[in-house]
């Protein structure tokens, strides 16, 4: 009898092993291909490399990360339970809580997390070469960003869709909640200031771009009227119509740029554009402008999804050559795009494509209320972040297909390379990246601009890269200007949507908080409160925008690292929360899954903050720059710059101190739980069996 049972067991084992063989062979091949592609990307030097190597390396890494690492986390740490009813099922109300198809939730989640960050960050970090950005985007996403989004989504699902702030308050303590709240506001303010600066830098002295973006306002109004009066609720239809009109506006921009009268109206300097954007931001926040804002949001999403898909197809089909070297001399910290060494600044500059604390807000916002099964959090949380990381790889490619000299000419501020085209190109050529003034003039003419020099911020370089890729096929060089302005319009539209949505979100958060002090201030329909809080938020990000516009180093040098630090500090809070919950769940042996990215982020953000505040190099350290300015001739502008630098240093210091408090509070909790002094109690909602399982059972 026993012999028979053993034989049966052995036979079953053999069958299982045989059935696994094709799978093992397939995944082995993927691993070999991925390792080979990563090795080529990492080791190749000298000759230009084809972009397809990056695509293959990324595809294999994502496939392996999703198949093995996310599955390991799902099985061993989170123990995803398909039988446990989610809030979408238990609290279904047809509005916020709703059982939704997993692919639909995936699309919804991706549309919310994919902003301009994964496009801009990698373009700026390309000053170090294509290698650091690519490796960080791949490793950061697989081991940190996707993990953060996945675990926070699941923890929110198990807590009735609670927000990051609420969960931090319950699981870590009041300090956690307060810091998460403050970090969110700080990130929003800095993000909005930087985002507005990118738009200003992309549109300054560009009548074509300014005309196209200006035209999106009447187009959005028309869409609003169409939705409200002609075909109520037909958003997809009207968005397609709006898209066609935007294409016409791009085409019309060419005419506007060539017509002297129109060109003079739409050729605006940076300060004028900054004022217009500040006024627009205030109007977007304070007025009940559903007629403009909702259609614009839809139009932006429509363009965003379409362009990302188009770019992906374009890169795979045309597989351009990367001209940027794997590593440039600027890994030593002397880069013109932004100052600072590869560690920690590459990891601060690229946030959204690798890990972004902001995603934790979305993973604990709308998405957990739509998830039908716990098991779907893996695909939505981990998978959507992988897709965003793929967008960042595309941005690396778009930046690195440019000749390095051209890339640096576009992205370097005049304060570093010189005021004239001849001086700028001579400086850049002296770094070993040859470029000439006539070459830059020809390129500017090809894309329909007066100049491409000193167009800092990342967006113009991305647009030139994208136009360069597409001009190799669809329409050739003849339509390069149209592609360039399409890319500029896409980024500016995208960013303006983030700007008005972000301003409103921040306004609501401030009103919620002020409502605890004086009730009417919390009423979102009370106009004095609306105007006051709108002015507060717009004034805050407008301050950073103005600071960037007036900064002789281009603004991005100071503000983008500040934004990166704030965003990664929020990720630190999210990973502190995740680690605390994992330890409380008695999964301490696997806590390294969130603890290692947490340790890495602490090292990166705290080092970066230290450099930004105290580094003696005035291009890196805020205080050093203030000292240098103070030692020079005193003017009104100098006094303002000194104040700005000191304020930036203070903001960075406050953020770091607050996150350090969360870290200390979290470690205190971990020690208390692990030493047995405190009972590990997670604040999950009680288990309820799904209806589907009950029906089956």
């Amino acid at each position: 009898m026993k012999l028979g049972t053993n034989l049966e067991t052995k036979t079953r084992q053999l069958e299982t092993e045989t059935s696994k063989t094709p799978s093992i062979l397939t995944w082995g091949a993927v691993a070999l291909l991925g390792a080979g592609a990563v090795a080529v990307v990492a080791v190749h030097r000298g000759e230009p490399i084809n972009a397809l190597w990056l695509v293959v390396a990324a595809a294999c890494c994502y496939a392996l990360g999703y198949r093995f690492y996310s599955k390991f986390i799902a099985a061993k740490i989170l123990a995803l339970d398909a039988l446990r009813a989610t809030p979408a099922e238990r609290l279904e109300n047809g509005r916020d809580f709703l059982v939704t198809n997993k692919w639909v939730v995936f699309g919804h989640h991706f549309a919310a997390i994919a902003g301009p960050g994964p496009l801009v960050g990698p373009v700026l970090a390309a000053q170090f070469g294509y290698l650091p950005g690519t490796l960080w985007v791949l490793a950061g996403a697989i081991f940190a960003g996707c993990v953060q989004d996945f675990v926070i989504l699941l923890f929110s699902v198990r807590r009735d869709g609670k927000s990051l702030t609420e969960m931090a308050k319950e699981e870590i303590g009041r300090v956690g909640g307060l810091v998460a709240y403050t970090a969110v506001i700080a990130i929003l303010v800095i993000l909005l200031g930087v985002a507005a600066l990118i738009v200003v830098n992309a549109l300054k002295d560009s009548p074509w771009g300014t005309f196209t973006i200006a035209m999106t306002i009447p187009i959005a109004l028309l869409m609003g009227l169409y939705l409200r009066r002609i075909r109520p609720g037909k958003v997809l239809e009207v968005s397609a119509l709006g898209f066609v009109l935007v294409l016409l506006a791009i085409w019309g921009g060419q005419w506007a740029s060539q017509n002297p009268a129109m060109a003079s109206v739409f050729s605006l300097r940076a300060p004028a554009l900054a004022i217009l954007i500040i006024v627009y931001g205030f109007a977007a926040s304070a007025l009940p402008v559903w007629l403009l804002l909702a259609p614009r949001d839809y139009l932006s999403t429509f363009v965003k999804l379409g362009t990302i898909a188009l770019l992906a197809v374009g890169i795979v089909a045309l597989h351009p050559t990367l001209h940027m070297p794997a590593l440039t001399r600027f890994v030593d910290g002397s880069g013109p795009v932004f100052a600072g060494k590869i560690f920690p600044f590459a990891f601060i500059t690229i946030a959204c494509g690798a890990i972004s604390g902001f995603h934790a807000l979305i993973s604990s916002g709308t998405t957990p209320k739509l998830i039908a099964r716990e098991t779907q959090t893996r695909m939505v949380g981990y998978g959507a972040m992988m897709a965003e990381s793929a967008v960042a790889v595309m941005a690396v490619i778009a930046a690195c297909v440019l000749q390095p000299g051209v890339y640096f000419a576009i992205n370097s501020p005049a304060g570093i390379v010189g005021q004239t085209a001849v001086a700028a190109t001579a400086t850049i050529s002296s770094w070993g990246f040859p470029v000439s003034a006539s070459e830059m003039q020809t390129l500017a003419q090809a894309v329909g601009e007066q100049t491409l020099l000193n167009r800092t911020g990342g967006a113009p370089a991305f647009a030139v890269g994208m136009a360069h890729i597409f001009s190799q096929s669809l329409g050739g060089a003849a339509v390069m200007a149209l592609w360039y302005h399409f890319a500029v319009m896409f980024e500016a539209l995208f960013i303006l949507t983030v700007l008005d949505a972000g301003t409103r979100v921040a306004r609501f958060m401030i009103q919620d908080a002020l409502g605890h002090v004086y009730k009417p201030l919390g009423r979102t329909s009370w106009y004095p409160s609306i105007l006051g809080t709108s002015a507060l938020i717009v004034g805050a990000w407008g301050f950073f925008l103005w600071q960037g516009v007036k900064d002789p180093l281009g603004g991005i040098n100071s503000l983008w690292p500040l934004f990166g630090i704030a965003n990664q500090l929020l990720a630190t809070v999210a990973l502190c929360l995740a680690t605390t919950i994992i330890i409380k769940m008695h999964r301490t042996r696997y806590a390294a899954v969130t603890l290692v990215p947490l340790a890495w982020l602490v090292a990166v953000t705290f080092t970066a903050s230290w450099h930004k505040i105290f580094d003696p190099n005035p291009r890196v350290g805020f205080l050093a720059q203030a000292r240098v300015l103070a030692a020079g001739p005193a003017t009104n502008a100098t006094a303002r710059l000194i104040f700005n630098n000191r304020l930036d240093a203070a903001v960075t210091a406050i953020l770091v101190v607050m996150v350090a408090l969360v870290l200390i509070e979290s470690v205190r909790q971990w020690i208390a739980v692990l030493s047995g002094r405190e009972e590990p109690r997670v604040k999950e909602s009680p288990f309820v069996m799904t209806r589907l399982a009950e029906e089956k059972g």
Binding site: G94, G107, G117, S356, L361, I362
Partner: protein, 58 residues
């Protein structure tokens, strides 16, 4: 072919959800009204507060 059609259906459903068309249909069902200018205005009013609070990432 069936799989392809299924994929197209899911893609369309995702787009309808992203662009709030599905939310409007649910609103019509929930409130038991037919689509009209006033129904869409009511939907927008109801949607405004949750839309305004929906974060968008960088």
């Amino acid at each position: 072919m069936t799989r392809f059609l299924q994929a197209v259906r899911v893609l369309l459903a995702a787009l309808r959800e992203i662009f709030d068309e599905a939310a409007y249909e649910r609103f019509l069902r929930r409130t038991d009204v037919i689509s009209s200018k006033s129904a869409y205005a009511d939907f927008l009013r109801e949607r405004e507060s949750s839309q305004a609070r929906r974060p968008r990432c960088c």
